[in-house]
């Protein structure tokens, strides 16, 4: 599976031109704040549309203003982790992962089993019954990460996936994430400020 992005992203006054081709690999994107890293992820996910150019996944056009094509985010099968944790506040950690799986059509019982496993694997099984506001920043981030990776997404987008973790927890989560990403087929993009994370997780890096 290859993701081809060649187009212009306009965000208010700013516009950036991006040309990317990502195969079955983990691409790291670095760069200073406000340069448009998150905007790239949002365009791939379908939360923002391109103002020019096109976005294709394995030859299928997802977004092309000139051809008047725009595939809605819910039809793109993307696993995305937002920078500011977006766990649904009225659901527990586990229910949040179940919710993501159910949204992809997984049956309740299977979804529960997968969610429990994922939380155990992430080392936060004991927090599964807690609501997002009861979790620490690092715990909540690990739930978000687990949620973005479940349900075999075709494309994985992670925005600062390890930023809230303390130095003690970080190496283990990083190793686990590296393994999880290798098991998933398809293009994966990680946006990060942390060069150690980028080095450990990514096959290729571009700096904006």
């Amino acid at each position: 599976m290859t993701l081809q992005l060649d187009g212009r992203i306009t965000r208010g006054e700013f516009a950036i031109d991006v040309a990317l081709s990502i195969g079955n690999e983990v691409l790291g994107i670095t760069g200073p704040n406000g340069v448009g890293k998150t905007s790239i992820l949002r365009v791939v996910a379908g939360l923002t549309s391109l103002s020019a150019g096109s976005l294709e996944l394995s030859g299928v056009v997802l977004d092309s203003p000139t051809q008047d094509i725009f595939v809605k985010p819910e039809q793109r099968n993307v696993g995305m982790m937002f920078q500011d944790h977006s766990l649904l506040p009225f659901l527990t950690a586990e229910e949040n992962i179940v919710f993501a799986l159910r949204a992809r059509g997984v049956r309740v019982r299977d979804a529960r089993a997968v969610a429990t496993n994922q939380l155990e694997a992430a080392g936060i099984g004991q927090y599964r019954g807690l609501l997002p506001h009861q979790l620490s920043g690092g715990q909540s981030q690990r739930v978000c990460l687990a949620r973005a990776l479940v349900g075999s997404p075709s494309v994985v987008l992670l925005d600062e996936p390890l930023s809230a973790l303390d130095e003690l927890a970080r190496p283990l989560v990083r190793t686990n994430l590296r393994a999880a990403l290798q098991q998933l087929n398809g293009p994966k993009i990680i946006v990060s400020h942390d060069s150690a994370d980028i080095d450990a997780l990514c096959d290729r890096v571009i700096a904006l």
């Binding site: 809605k72 985010p73 819910e74 993307v78 937002f82 506040p89 993501a100 949204a103 349900g151």
Partner: protein
């Protein structure tokens, strides 16, 4: 930790503020004390059960609940459009929606006559000629009058509720694969629940207390269009004890609504 008294410039209050605040509070509380004092507690139940009072209470309950359902059905989409869709003339539409909140209710009643009056209303004559439906002087008219004045309160609460929902929750639900309809029912409505509840309660209280538009548009027919506020006004002449008893019921209901909504409307944060 012991509570130490912190002194700063902002918390040093000039004397006249205390006096003004105390007078303001007394001004609001005195009539309530007066009302409660006049209630004949012994005969309270007797004054409420049987006769025009219980008829009025029953009618008020039924019409205000139906009017509130109507308000929710129309108000939710209206609030959505005002909160989420940028279009030319949005502030004008918002002002029009909010108008019944500041409009004298009697004027609202006159306007309703102009729209739904049987003989020369904009829509009223058609409704009557085609379906034999008459809103004036009917319980249906009471519902329309109550909904008309209550709708803006609901829209205001729900619009601000919708605005305070961060987009990231619905965005992440979209990325997970939920269609816009499912996002609405499983994410937006859940996040909106406190505002929906507050809006519904306030709209219901407003509908329950409606007087001016109701008497103008639906009239004052005992058992048909005579709601509790109208009955209170009439009974004050003929049977003051019953009037005070009914007033107490309305007061208790309104206090109940405020207590239920205290987190949202009275600044208490959980």
């Amino acid at each position: 930790m012991s509570k130490a008294k912190v002194r700063d410039v902002a918390s040093s209050t000039p004397g006249f503020v205390w006096v003004g605040a105390a007078l303001g509070l007394a001004f609001l509380l005195l009539p309530l004390v007066g009302l409660v004092r006049r209630v004949a507690w012994r005969g309270l139940l007797g004054n409420l059960v049987g006769g025009p009072a219980s008829e009025a209470l029953r009618l008020s309950l039924v019409t205000s609940v139906i009017a509130t359902c109507f308000v929710v059905l129309l108000g939710l989409p209206l609030a959505w459009v005002l909160a989420r869709i940028a279009f030319k003339g949005r502030s004008l539409v918002r002002a029009l929606v909010m108008l019944p909140m500041v409009l004298p209710p009697v004027v609202g009643g006159v306007a309703l006559l102009g729209a739904y009056g049987k003989s020369n209303g904009l829509l009223g004559s058609t409704l009557y000629n085609l379906f034999g439906l008459q809103l004036t002087f009917s319980p249906l008219g009471v519902i329309v009058a109550e909904a008309f004045v209550a709708l803006p309160f609901f829209v205001m609460a729900v619009e601000s509720g919708l605005r305070s929902i961060e987009p990231k929750f619905e965005e992440s639900a979209a990325v997970m694969g939920l269609s816009s309809t499912k996002r609405f029912s499983r994410v937006t409505l859940r996040l909106l629940a406190p505002a929906l509840l507050a809006g519904t309660a306030v709209a219901w209280a407003r509908a329950l207390g409606e007087f001016g538009a109701t008497i103008t548009f639906a009239g004052n027919i005992e058992g048909r269009t005579q709601t509790t506020p109208l009955a209170v006004y009439l009974l004050l002449e003929s049977d003051p004890e019953a009037a005070y008893a009914l007033s107490l019921v309305l007061l208790v209901v309104c206090v109940g609504v405020l207590v239920a909504m205290r987190d949202r409307w009275m600044g208490r944060r959980s």
